[in-house]
């Protein structure tokens, strides 16, 4: 992710009202993390597993925070149990910011990621999680606002899959 894209994404998260971000860092979107850390509008929570990134965000949602969970696409498979048993079954509005590794437009795609990318959208559909693909940084502000509005309307997790120019 290039610096200006990271800045645009971080600003769009703030503009969408996100104020609590749990994460397990990965390669493609990680440049947003120092920006979020430097901005007191965000509570940034490092975790040891995407599973707890989801449960911590869900707990925060239930006390009035507007949380996002930032993870690599592989993490979606790690946290599916927690998404299902807490976020979906109880119903907590959380925004999943997923680095769409292994997707067709992933600029760092390789044999290590393609098998994951092939199954990522299927996994979201199996969980009945509404999602959109974000490829163009010019659209990120609108997409984050739309996704946040949707997560509040559903009171469920909603996902954005970041690929294309976000993976440079």
């Amino acid at each position: 992710m290039e610096k200006d894209v990271a800045q645009k994404t971080a600003a769009a998260l703030k503009g969408a009202g996100i104020d609590f971000v749990t994460y397990l860092p990965e390669t493609r979107l990680s440049r947003i993390l120092p920006l979020l850390e430097a901005d007191s509008a965000f509570k940034l929570v490092p975790t040891s597993s995407e599973a707890e990134a989801v449960t911590i965000a869900s707990g925060a949602a239930l006390v009035g925070k507007q949380p996002a969970v930032y993870m690599e696409g592989t993490g979606l498979f790690v946290c599916s149990y927690n998404l299902l048993t807490v976020s979906i079954r109880v119903g907590t509005p959380i925004l999943l910011l997923i680095s769409y590794v292994g997707s067709m437009a992933d600029q760092k795609n390789s044999f290590r990621f393609a098998p994951t990318g092939l199954r990522t959208e299927q996994q979201l559909r199996a969980l009945n999680i509404e999602y959109q693909i974000a490829e163009d940084p010019a659209q990120v502000e609108t997409q984050l606002q739309n996704a946040t509005r949707m997560m509040h309307a559903l009171k469920q997790p909603v996902a954005l899959l970041f690929t294309g120019a976000f993976t440079l």
């Binding site: 707890e52 925060a60 009035g64 048993t85």
Partner: protein, 199 residues
Amino acid sequence: MNRSACLESLVPHITDQLVVPSVSGQWIWGHLTKEHDGNLLLGSMGNALGVGLGMALGLPHRKVIVIESDGSVLLSLFNLPTLGALKPDNLVVFVFDNEKYSGSRISRPSATAAGTDLAAVARDCGISHAVEVRDLDSFKRESQGALSRQGLGFVVAKVEETLEHRQAERSTADLTENKYRFVRYIERTEGKAVFRGRG
């Protein structure tokens, strides 16, 4: 030591704390404190610690209590280093360790029966005040201390296996109804909206 007796000893200390039980003792706790709107029912293993941690970070001025079991903590052991790193000073965790998967109905042993010491694991993860207790008086002393002071509390209570939870009265409220009860309680007591968006 008996888990129900431990839970009963906590009841007089419950005022406005937020309480997240895992599957261990959820029905007993729910029955003992059914008037308390600050209980959040999850009905699943491996999630209570994370959810409670999220609440504690989201409302740092409010005390949060998590009621866990050995099997549930073992399922999400990665919570402990995160807890030790973040050290929220408004969170108290009780782990009722009977060394068994009682819910399996055939009481298969958990790893704590083979020697895993959850209080020691917690201390090694940076939860410096983690303690293990084996009798009710010690539980009362440690639990009251943890509830009354600022600081991350972690009390592992070694208890015998009982089947009392199977006889406990169960609420008919499902997870969604329970969630809204909890959320409205937060809104009443914190004076702010929890969920956003247009009506």
